[in-house]
Symmetry: C2
Subunit: 260 residues, 2 copies
Amino acid sequence: MTDISLEDRGFTLGHGLFETVLWADDALYYWDAHLERLDRGCQVLGLPSPQPEAMHRAALVALEAAGRPERAAVRLNWSAGPGARGLDPPTDPHPVLTATAAAVATPKGGATLVIARGVRRNDRSPAARLKSLSYLDNVLARAEARETGADEALMLNTGGEIACAAAANVFWVEGDRLCTPALDCGVLDGIMRAKVLESASRGGLEAREIRADSAKIHAAEAIFLTNSLIGLRPVGRLDGKTFAPGAAISRLSDMLAAFV
Amino acid sequence: MTDISLEDRGFTLGHGLFETVLWADDALYYWDAHLERLDRGCQVLGLPSPQPEAMHRAALVALEAAGRPERAAVRLNWSAGPGARGLDPPTDPHPVLTATAAAVATPKGGATLVIARGVRRNDRSPAARLKSLSYLDNVLARAEARETGADEALMLNTGGEIACAAAANVFWVEGDRLCTPALDCGVLDGIMRAKVLESASRGGLEAREIRADSAKIHAAEAIFLTNSLIGLRPVGRLDGKTFAPGAAISRLSDMLAAFV
């Protein structure tokens, strides 16, 4: 585990990307999807893409260093690398690949969510879709949720539409339909989000990417969060309203598990 | 110059702050104002404030390491320090102070500006006012400006109002009045911005903090940028329109120089 130079733009400016990959059953889950997302991010950020082999090697080294846990989060950082003072990148950027790994448990029970009031997602920035090293808005949203005793914050975009949670995507059930905010609402382009949409479509379940305000999600039958580490986690409370998602979510979960 | 740990939240999440202080005439300009802004930022970010003495020492060590240039930018980083995986900070945060310094020249001539189209400032985040380690939106705006051959990007907020440049605040002259966007337009709380407003008021010049769209600034008599390093720099072009700010800006510049 190397350190990061004080002149790395990943540190000084948050100019870089990361991926969080689930290690379980001796495998790196959805590895190709993570690499593809990182590639798309590199295009937005003006960075060359990392070598897939180097990424894989870094992931395995980090897992070994962490004692090769049975179930782990592997975090791969692709920071923009050293640069001179100021915002302009060097003409020939040399991004830096680093990786860490840590054991993770599957969270138990339903998540408690609140809608963040003090910070919104910037749907007018391409960075909103990316797992970037500039994650301060997410940190602030999560802190706000924790202050109220909640597990996680649901973030609105600057227009007041639902976007995603601070560290997860959000889905809800309306009748027989699965809904999730469209990517251009300022939504993180989640790997598990895409897998759920794909699985729903293969399973013959109607799933829609929509624009919705908070009234819409408050009225939902059931809500769940997704990300690469938790997979699919039901929401038990949102803004003080209780959801008893048991039946709906476990039906969905079973259905999706067959495909995801 | 130490390195940054891979587990520092300043690196992993952009959770931290920085200050860029001008060193010239053997002095650190507006030192107290920089410390006060950092303090305000710490409150927003849930971090303890650094010790002023430690900050000062770090600045001087960085200047020595850089060969004690006559005119330099001293960058002080106050990153949130090590944390476990995920967004939640440790209950007892230990921020990390680091500093670098580099010689800087005063830019010559008028700046060429374009309004960034691909990214806007998040006026719905308290981070917009801060010099934070999550500066990716600014990096993207600047890159867009450079692609068109401009020096700097003028950023709008998500409502389409003028906010500030990627690395400077913006002022313009309307008749005998100085205007600048109000802080709640998503504006960086610039040290030099505050000094100019204060100086104008002491000099008996009307200066207003307003909300304005781009038509307003296109119609200005003169435009200038401010930050701690450049002081006050006239804008020669904005979106292809030429400004010949000579008289207006040098009058202002002289007037403000007496106070700033």
